[in-house]
Amino acid sequence: MNDLVELLAAVYSCLGGLSIRSLIYSIEDVYVRAELGDVDWEKVLEIIAQNLAGTLKMGPSAAKEVIREAITCSPRLREGAPTLAIGSVGDEKAPTLAHLVNRHVPVDATPRVKLEVVRRLGLPRDRILRSYSRVVGRGEGWHVRGAVKSLRGYVPGTPFADVDLIRTATAFRRKVVMNMPISDFDIFVREYSRTADKPVYIALDVSGSMKEYMWGDVKLRVAKNAVARYLRQMASLRGRVSLLLFNVDADFMWTPYEVHKYLREMLEILEYVYAGGGTELASALEVLYSYGVREAVLITDGRTADVEKTWSLVKKFKRLHAVAVEKSDLLKQIAKATGGKYQELSPKLDMSVIHD
């Protein structure tokens, strides 16, 4: 009897989600059937299939083939079997949205093309926050688009909004007091620091652990909102951003593209991003490194399967900023080792500090 039970245990562990009731009945059935008439190996398989056909939702003969394969548990079958993808750390393979999309289009396709593919995949859509569209300015004045690098004199063609009114007014006032003619040089124009001249690579963790709740919301959604806010800021900074999704494997959701051109598409793609699978930070670093990237932002909870491999890769990077979804010493150390910024994810996180 033990052989039969072990056989069924193998089938159960391979296929997963089988009804225990049906398994018990199939053991009983095999024994009763053996009482009634001769039973060989094929017949045993057939009887098990007859009892499991209902829970497998297929005909008895199809079920027999599935069970035959399940006994040896070929990897193909394991992949197709339904599993619960909630594991936070592990090597559970689950394609990310990026993997799904890149099956159909080249990796460096524009976000517009990718969005079209994403829409046709028919995945559920998760609305992200629409607010926070106002640019958070740092520096002085109202219309700051980035940090003010310097002030310069007026040259024809400068946008009106860039004029620093306070400085200009002061200069005018001084000239008037000094009874001197006003010239172009008295009009001060701000020059912005275009910090976003280099493309920014964001590696977003979409492993199963991102489905957990935090701040009364799903971690992934909080992270997505933070990325969306950052994208809007980068749109006004006219920067280029690339998004990389990783769980056990990593792939580019989109390669660097001008955010101000593709903001709408990028935000919509972001809404379709889902979580599932294990976590392997090293995979993301590996892909980034192979693309010649030396600076990146990591948004992850820092639960990674292979810490040593991660560290050996981290050393090859010039700068890694870390946005920790939960307090993580590993991420703190990574950020410190590469001279990057360490932040903890919160619903109001401003990711653009990495440019300071």
């Binding site: 059935d29 009482e35 007859q50 829970t55 005909g59």
Partner: protein, 291 residues
């Protein structure tokens, strides 16, 4: 109930049951044993297969042979408009008002309740709609049904028949129900066996008519059935045997020997397909006949 079946099988002996069923059906020995073992462990059995392979006949024969109660079985032909009330029965309000609820006539039992202590044969089980499936589920699982608040005990052995899901008008069995069933596939018998079955059944249909059915025709017919199955048109053993009997009867009426053209003609009349499919099938038949 399973205990009753086990005792019955022990008392009769498997060989005796096989012999008795063999008087009605041939080539289903393996399926019969599968059905019996399912009944003995108390698992409802569903026979799956295309029409005309003897699924219902087998179920009836098994029930008759075991004779668990009197009558030996209750048969329901399931259809998609069946309601739970159709299955479990209901209280006749008019009688109940006049004679009171205690009166034996105030309750009209449905087949599920009538089958208490015997076999319930549900023909075309997968044509039941989800509502009726739910009512059946309770009866299978808990062995009682509720009728207007009254709990009525009913314990029966269920044998169902079902067509594969590619047939029209077939509902998916709900997951909970499918999990409780054992599905036994009924397959087309192989060529030699099919030939003998066809001959035997055709003779039975002809009765005391003195006709000699050439075995060559049965052979062609069984070859045709297998070719047609390969081409994607599974044939019914019932239709084929009647076609053979029909051809013989036709020849007898004209006082001559049965010929191939008779068979061809009766095949056209007996096959349940539309005209286009029939043409394809006739081509297959001609090929089988000329080989």
């Amino acid at each position: 109930m399973p205990r009753l079946v086990r005792e019955r099988v022990k008392k009769m002996g498997v060989d005796e049951i096989r012999r008795r069923i063999g008087g009605v059906l041939k080539g289903l020995d393996d399926v019969l044993l599968d059905v019996l073992s399912g009944m003995m462990i108390g698992r409802p059995v569903v026979l799956v297969g295309p029409v005309g392979l003897g699924k219902t006949t087998l179920a009836e024969a098994v029930a008759e042979t075991l004779a668990l109660g009197d009558p030996p079985y209750i048969e329901v032909a399931c259809h998609s408009h069946m309601t739970a009330v159709d299955l479990v029965g209901d209280i006749d309000v008019a009688v109940a008002l006049q004679a009171g609820l205690d009166h034996p006539l105030s309750y009209i039992p449905g087949p599920v309740v009538l089958a208490h202590g015997t076999v319930l044969i549900m023909d075309e089980l997968n044509r039941l709609n989800p509502y009726a499936q739910a009512a059946l589920l309770q009866a299978i699982q808990e062995h009682y049904v509720y009728i207007r608040g009254y709990r009525i005990r009913t314990d029966f052995v269920l044998i169902g028949t079902a067509n594969p899901s590619e047939y029209e008008g077939v509902y998916e069995l709900s997951e909970a129900l499918a999990d409780r069933l054992k599905f036994v596939e009924v397959k087309m018998p192989d060529r030699e066996l099919l030939k003998s079955i066809l001959l035997w059944k055709a003779r039975e249909a002809l009765g005391d008519l003195e006709v000699d059915i050439p075995s060559k025709l049965a052979e062609i017919l069984s070859k045709f059935a297998h070719e047609a199955k390969k081409a994607g048109y599974p044939q019914s053993v019932r239709s084929l045997s009647y076609a053979l009997a029909d051809a013989s009867a036709l020849a007898w009426a004209q006082r001559r020997e049965v010929e191939l053209r008779d068979l061809r003609r009766s095949l056209v009349n007996n096959l349940p397909f539309d005209s286009e499919t029939k043409e394809v099938l006739l081509k297959i038949f001609d090929r089988a006949a000329n080989e």
